[in-house]
């Protein structure tokens, strides 16, 4: 039965990966536009499509797969309601893909994104009620607590777009508007993505019979959950220069960093479970993803310092920062989880795809930071975007193997033996 669960998750992951590929195509188109403007293309619309597909198409769908795969028992996992929800969500994604690049925020695209939000809310309630049934009368494992918090933060973040309409019509695109946009981003990144992924890693350790009811994990959860609301004050800094916000932002980001350190120390202690023994690179991917997360938290602290406020407005830095979280932490940790769970294979070509993605990611981050000193930087960024694309295509193509029974290497092996036998025969004939 385990493989059956895997095969359903594998199909869903394939759909999520398709979204990732499409969003990478949009990103590449944006990079091409900077290199050589394309006539008749509205860059802002492309940005909207790119970001919607990234948040709702790739990360949400991948987390949907992982969370249901890891937390639901078989009878609930195969429940029809999850299948319907998944396809409704994907329909909304395709709707957004075909409306945002051409119309931007217009009735149809907003309708599709609202559909996605509603499905996400329904998913949250069904999922939480399933978890409640499962853990009635028991102590909730730490991983489930993390995921519940993640879902709550996701709900909070979804309030922001609904508030946008009234706010824009009343005040126009003022500070309040940017505050709402920032709070959406904040609760998605630091709330939903981070908590869900940390919960998934803890869950993974629980399935390996490790006691996660550890003081470090508890402290990590409390500190991170406490800090997330005050940490929002960092987005007010660039608009309101009251000293109080500085202290609040600094305090919150330090608490956040502390909480993360507790968790990372625990993970480091159990690192042998997060990696394969024979394929060391799988473990290195997790290491890279957590380093990116740590770097993001450190940057959060630095960003709260008075000297850095001006940098927050610098667009290139913001783009680099967002992609640091998005690709560096979220995407790589999702891949790590999918590989360790056996939903994606860990073959050589998967390694190739990961390596290409990693090289492209690191190079484009460095280039975004040093862009003003490099000639042809737009061309180079376009080339690197293409490299992301090759990497994602490679990962996408490598994924089908899991539909087969476990020993998918058999044909290859037998061929090697055949070749050797033939070579041997030939030499003997001579």
């Amino acid at each position: 039965m385990v493989t059956e669960k895997n095969s359903i998750s594998a199909i869903r992951v394939r759909i999520a990966l398709l979204n990732l590929f499409l969003l990478a195509c949009l990103g590449t188109l944006i990079r091409y536009h900077f290199y050589e403007p394309i006539e008749g293309v509205n860059l802002t619309y492309l940005h909207h499509a790119h970001s919607h597909l990234a948040f709702l198409g790739w990360v949400f769908m991948a987390l949907f797969v992982l969370v249901t795969h890891q937390f639901l028992q078989k009878n609930r996992f195969f429940d029809k309601s999850y299948t319907y929800l998944f396809f409704a969500l994907q329909g909304a994604n395709f709707g957004m893909l075909f409306t945002f690049p051409f119309t931007g925020y217009a009735p149809w695209s907003i309708a599709f994104s609202t559909l996605h939000t509603i499905c996400a809310i329904i998913f949250t309630f069904i999922f939480i009620s399933d978890l409640k049934k499962e853990y009635t009368g028991m102590m909730w494992p730490m991983s489930a607590r993390f995921v519940i918090w993640a879902l709550i933060f996701m709900l909070i973040s979804n309030l922001a777009p609904f508030a946008l309409g009234p706010v824009v019509s009343m005040f126009g695109k003022t500070d309040a508007y940017y505050f709402l946009v920032n709070s959406y981003l904040h609760f998605q990144y630091n709330g939903w993505f981070t908590f869900a992924l940390l919960g998934l890693v803890i869950r993974f350790l629980e399935t390996k019979d490790i006691n996660t009811n550890h003081p470090f994990i508890k402290r990590g959860l409390v500190l991170k959950a406490v800090a997330i609301f005050p940490a929002l004050s960092i987005s007010i800094l660039s608009e309101d220069e009251n000293e109080l916000w500085f202290y609040l932002a600094l305090l919150a980001s330090i608490i956040q960093l502390l909480g993360l350190c507790y968790l990372l120390i625990f993970f480091w202690g159990n690192r042998s479970h997060l990696a394969f023994k024979t394929q060391k690179w799988v473990g290195y991917i997790a290491l890279f993803a957590f380093s990116a997360l740590l770097l993001q938290h450190i940057l959060h602290v630095l960003g709260a310092l008075p000297a850095a406020v001006d940098l927050l407005i610098n667009r290139q830095l913001v783009v680099a920062y967002l992609h640091l979280v998005f690709i560096g932490f979220v995407t790589f940790l999702i891949f790590h989880q999918l590989i360790t769970l056996g939903i994606l294979n860990s073959g050589t070509y998967m390694f190739l795809g990961m390596a290409l993605l990693l090289i492209a990611f690191i190079a484009s981050e460095l280039l975004l930071l040093t862009r003003n000193f490099v000639s042809h930087s737009n061309l180079l960024l376009f080339i690197l975007a293409l490299l992301h694309l090759i990497g994602i295509l490679t990962i996408f193509s490598q994924h089908k193997h899991r539909f087969l029974p476990k020993d998918d290497n058999i044909p290859k092996q037998s061929n090697i033996i055949k070749t050797i036998a033939q070579t041997h025969q030939k030499t003997q004939v001579k």
Binding site: Y32, E36, L352, T394, S397, Q398
Partner: protein, 260 residues
């Protein structure tokens, strides 16, 4: 040797990766032609892409395949087949399949777009030739690195560093040196320096053929001045050929003495 070549070639063809690489170039070619609507402009954009991408793909793929097929290589080594045949066969298998993907993947969109009717056909062939050269060179270099380093991570690191050095750092360092020592006559030195970077060299070769002096850059202009356009193309091609042969000879030498 043909047998081994056949094996690694068919292994790569079966692995789907060649098709991905092919599909990537197909999409890229069609999209670029669609966006530019002009063959010569698309060729220039493609040139910029190819001189960076093909070396990287060749490097990473070459070293990955080398490490991955090590067990198979060890099995082969136990057979009465000469070492140079084994490694040469594997090398040709990788380089041929990668170049084939490149040539077909870019060739089809341009043929559909009416390449034969345009005057750009030789420029386009030049582009494919230099892409294939770069693939052969960088696969050879990466297999060489693989032979010298048994440690996978070290080998991978060196291979990527090599690409980074030749694709990005070399140009920058050369430019800085030119600015710093501008009071001295450095023309011949710069000319010689361009010989030592296959990426630079192939860029110059294509641009000489395209005859766009504005894009030639410093070393390219020197090249044109020194050799003239026609000879320049021939000379650069010969040096690129040397760039293939030299690592290849080193590779075969090393494979003979390496202790597996």
């Amino acid at each position: 040797m043909i047998k081994i070549l056949k094996y690694s070639f068919s292994d790569l063809m079966r692995s789907k990766w060649s098709y991905i690489y092919l599909a990537f170039y197909l999409i890229l070619g069609f999209v670029l032609l669609f966006l530019n609507n002009d063959i010569s402009k698309a060729i220039i954009t493609l040139m910029n892409l190819i001189v960076v991408l093909t070396p990287l793909i060749g490097t990473i793929f070459g070293i990955m395949y080398f490490y991955n097929s090590r067990e198979f290589t060890e099995l082969l080594l136990a057979q009465p087949v000469s070492r140079s045949k084994i490694f040469f066969g594997q090398y040709l298998g990788i380089a041929l399949s990668l170049s084939l993907s490149l040539v077909i993947g870019l060739g089809v969109p341009f043929l559909v777009y009416g390449l034969f009717q345009s005057a750009e056909i030789f420029n386009f062939i030049m582009l494919l030739v230099s892409g294939a050269f770069l693939t052969f060179i960088f696969v050879a270099l990466s297999v060489l690195i693989g032979l010298y380093n048994s440690n996978k991570i070290k080998g991978f690191g060196y291979a990527i560093l090599m690409w980074l050095f030749l694709a990005v750092i070399y140009d920058g360092a050369l430019l800085i040196a030119m600015v710093m020592f501008r009071d001295y006559p450095l023309d011949n030195l710069a000319l010689a320096a361009s010989f030592f970077n296959p990426i630079d060299l192939s860029r110059i070769m294509i641009l000489l053929k395209l005859d766009i002096s504005a894009l030639l850059g410093y070393t390219g202009a020197l090249f044109q001045q020194f050799f003239g356009t026609g000879t320049g193309v021939v000379v650069s091609m010969i040096i690129l050929l040397l760039w293939v042969i030299f690592p290849l000879v080193m590779m075969l030498q090393k494979s003979k003495s390496k202790d597996f």
